[in-house]
């Protein structure tokens, strides 16, 4: 059996799955239930001066019949008295000494930071997470993302915390910034032990088109909120990678954002995370999802021969390069496996209208055909094809040549002029513009008229 346990900057946990600081970690009751179910750790709902929330707090993005592919909230930090939270932290730690209980904190003055760090430490918290992320409500009061967006202030607060902290300190970063490595570097300079990312992304999740107000609606009005859930994973992965690859950050990373199953977790880990946090998935499906996550992770590790998490933390990082270092000699081409094709012709219309006119339809069959000279190997058709492995992208270059953009620039073979002969699309066939006119007009006619359109001159 592989060992799932981690030691994250000194915080020990039986597995890398933590609940993120959010409603699922609002109380000792919930956290005990989660630990009972199999979660390795929990970042307590952010402590500070308790808040007052509005009613109607969440909004969702549904994609067709899939609910909550994106989720947003306008909630603030904990609205419970600090003393209640601290008492429950103590109780949880007593019952679960080997699980990770991390106190998420957000206050304003140096004195407040000192007080709350000391009190949480006394309650038995295994570490701290400084919430510099909340993109609504708190930032307007000079906290949350207002701090996360100001590296200097962030560093100063981390320094205040380090003055009294005897337990590891994690800085939670906001993605509402153009270069995530700046606050990460500030955290490192301030002496933090680790970083976690991402917090929610400032968002309007949708607009009620009858009430003319953004979701979630509070008495006919709304506000920008924080976006999370499956939809944000790609943004989170990129930011995790940026921090993990930066030569000067060198801090353990707790990956957060869009994690719903073991596969999402593995992706975060392969890009450098060594613990992962989950919020939306637990809010959507409850704590029970942990069983699938741990069993999936275990199976993956067995299949790959990994004995600890650290065997694959950051394993994909060497393969993430700047664009200019990719091999321009590598070529793939779309290949339609006719025996699998169901004839939906989505590939045709996608390539025809959205790519390179490299797919043609032939009379007498619904199976489209690739025009090899035109296929640039963009993948689009294989992405839209509804049949598994029906369009494969097959390698066509010899595999022996290698040249990057960087090398071409250095060698002076990169296009430099507006009508440069060396441009990529220079010898690519493009139909005459006017050939487009009327090509599919009959498809816009109602009913049978499309069949007899010609005959009746409709």
């Amino acid at each position: 059996m592989p060992d799932l346990s981690i030691n994250f900057a000194g915080i020990k946990s039986p597995n890398p799955f933590w609940l993120a600081s959010a409603p699922p970690t609002n109380s000792g009751y919930q956290i005990m239930k989660a630990f009972d179910a199999g979660w390795g750790g929990a970042v307590w709902k952010t402590l500070g001066v308790p808040v007052v929330n509005v009613s109607s707090r969440y909004g969702g993005v549904n994609y067709r019949d899939k609910r909550l592919v994106g989720f947003n909230n306008i909630e603030l930090i904990s609205d419970r008295p600090l003393a209640d939270n601290l008492r429950e932290i103590e109780e949880v730690k007593k019952r679960f000494p080997n699980h990770a209980v991390i106190a998420s904190l957000m206050v304003q003055s140096r004195q407040e930071w000192h007080d709350i760090v000391r009190q949480s430490q006394d309650a038995g918290a295994d570490g701290f997470e400084l919430n510099f992320g909340c993109p609504h409500g708190m930032c307007e009061r000079g906290m949350g993302s207002a701090v996360g967006q100001e590296p200097k202030i962030l560093q100063m607060i981390v320094e205040w915390v380090m003055e009294v902290a005897t337990k590891p300190v994690i800085v939670k970063l906001t993605p509402n910034i153009s270069d995530i490595t700046e606050p990460a570097l500030a955290a490192r300079r301030g002496g933090a032990d680790a970083i976690s990312l991402i917090n929610t992304i400032q968002s309007i999740v949708g607009v009620d088109i009858d009430q003319f107000a953004p979701y979630p609606i509070v008495d006919g009005k709304g506000s920008n909120g924080g976006y999370c859930g499956p939809a944000v994973k790609p943004i989170a992965l990129n930011m995790v990678k940026n921090c993990a690859q930066h030569p000067d950050i060198k801090l353990p990373i707790s990956g957060i954002g869009g994690i719903e199953n073991w596969r999402d977790a593995v992706e975060h880990i392969l890009l450098g995370a060594s613990s992962v946090q989950v919020c939306t998935a637990a809010m959507h499906f409850g704590f029970g999802i942990i069983r699938e996550m741990t069993s999936g992770l275990e199976q993956y590790m067995v299949d790959k021969g990994f004995s600890t998490i650290y065997d694959f933390v950051g394993k994909a990082l060497p393969n993430v390069l700047p664009w200019e270092q990719l091999n321009m000699k590598y070529k793939v081409m779309a290949n339609i496996h006719a025996e699998k094709c169901i004839g939906c012709q989505l590939c045709y219309t996608a390539c025809e209208d959205g790519a390179h006119q490299a797919i043609r339809l032939n009379a007498g069959t619904r199976v489209p055909e690739i025009i090899e000279e035109n296929c640039v190997g963009c993948n689009l058709c294989s992405l839209v094809c509804p049949v598994e492995d029906c369009i494969t992208m097959d390698r066509t270059d010899s595999g022996t040549e290698h040249i990057t953009w960087k090398e071409r620039v250095a060698a002076g073979t990169a296009p430099t002029e507006f009508n440069d002969e060396r441009a990529g699309g220079r010898h690519h066939w493009v139909p005459e513009p006017s050939a487009a006119l009327g090509k599919e007009r009959h498809k816009t006619l109602p009913g049978k008229a499309r069949v007899y359109a010609g005959d009746l001159g409709l």
Partner: protein
Amino acid sequence: MAEFFTPTTEQEFAANFAQLKPLMNRTEALYESSRCLFCFDAPCIKACPSGIDIPQFIRQINSGNETGAARTIYEANYFGNACGKVCPTEVLCEGACVYNLQDVKPIEIGRLQSYATTKVIESGKKLFSPGAANGKSVAVIGAGPAGISAACELRALGYAVDVFEAKAQPSGLTVYGVAPYKITNEETLAEMDYLQAQFGYNTHFNSPINSREELMKLENKYDAIFLGIGLGKTNALGLPGENKINCTGAVEFIAELRQHHHEIAVGRKVIVLGGGNTAMDAASESARLGAEQVTLAYRRGKEEMGAYEFEYDLAKGVGVSGLFNVAPLEIVGDDYVAGVRFIRTETINGKVSEIAGSEFVEPCDMVIKATGQAKQTEFLRLIPGLEVDGKGRIVANAHTGQTTNPKYFASGDAWNGGAEVVNAAAEAKLTARGIHAYLSK
């Protein structure tokens, strides 16, 4: 053993004749519409005789634009709601859905279609209105799918339209012929009301056109005449004993059933003669009315039946049994039917021949002849210059519906020889355009 108890109340009838394609709720429609791939040049559209832009209306349902979806449907087919429920979708749109090739359940196009149309019918939301009056008028004979569709399209084009119908209600066989588990009378008539409210054609019920004089009046008064008369009564078998009590034609039996539901009586042991879809319907319907034993008797082998496979499966599913390779010789009994004398047959090189000495009597107390509908030959003879083909079908231009008497146009069963509601609706819409082209010359 009978699968169904004889229904004695409207509720029991509704239970025995439960809808095969019940109305979807919003969630079901959302889930199902989400599955549609939005195929390019979609095969489902091509398989629809009325060419409804199916991926378009499914996408409209998916994005919460049910009204737009209904418009897409009605623009191609005025019997949109009925067709969603009564079309043999297995061999039309749904049979062509690309998912079949992936061994995935095809999109439930019919039910989605009726979902959208029911929304607008129930809300009474107007989608269409008559075109500006062009001063011309057309008489429509027959208020079936063909006649009503022609009336709608002609009104949209600005014609004054009078519809003459022999029966008391519109929609033709949709309300008098289609099996009650496919569509209810209420659903059928609600769509008729919905159309009439928008297009405002005049309907004259209980007004059969039966004589040369009546036709002449129409010829004088109207600029064109549309024939949507469908087919006639069940063909006679020409067998001894055919007029015994409880020997009835399928079309007549079903018309009674549609109008009187559980109040009509069915035999305990019913023999249905025929192998087409109407035979399957009559057999299923007898079983659902509580007949203890229903036997389908067909002259040839099972594989050669004209009925769609799913229609036979449906009949088998309610306990109907098949008796193949038998030809009826006589309906036996005194005043009442007591049985059918059959002779066994064999098919050699496609030819059916009787096997000498193989006669037997199959006892029963009711015989339903599903041996096809006769053509309206007598009526058609009243129209000068109007040609019919060897099978009694009106001869007309494929695209304009114009018959060999230029004032007359035709669509639907009377022209195609008997097809589906959707064919009649699609043809009539085109023929209305044909009339318009003719009268605009």
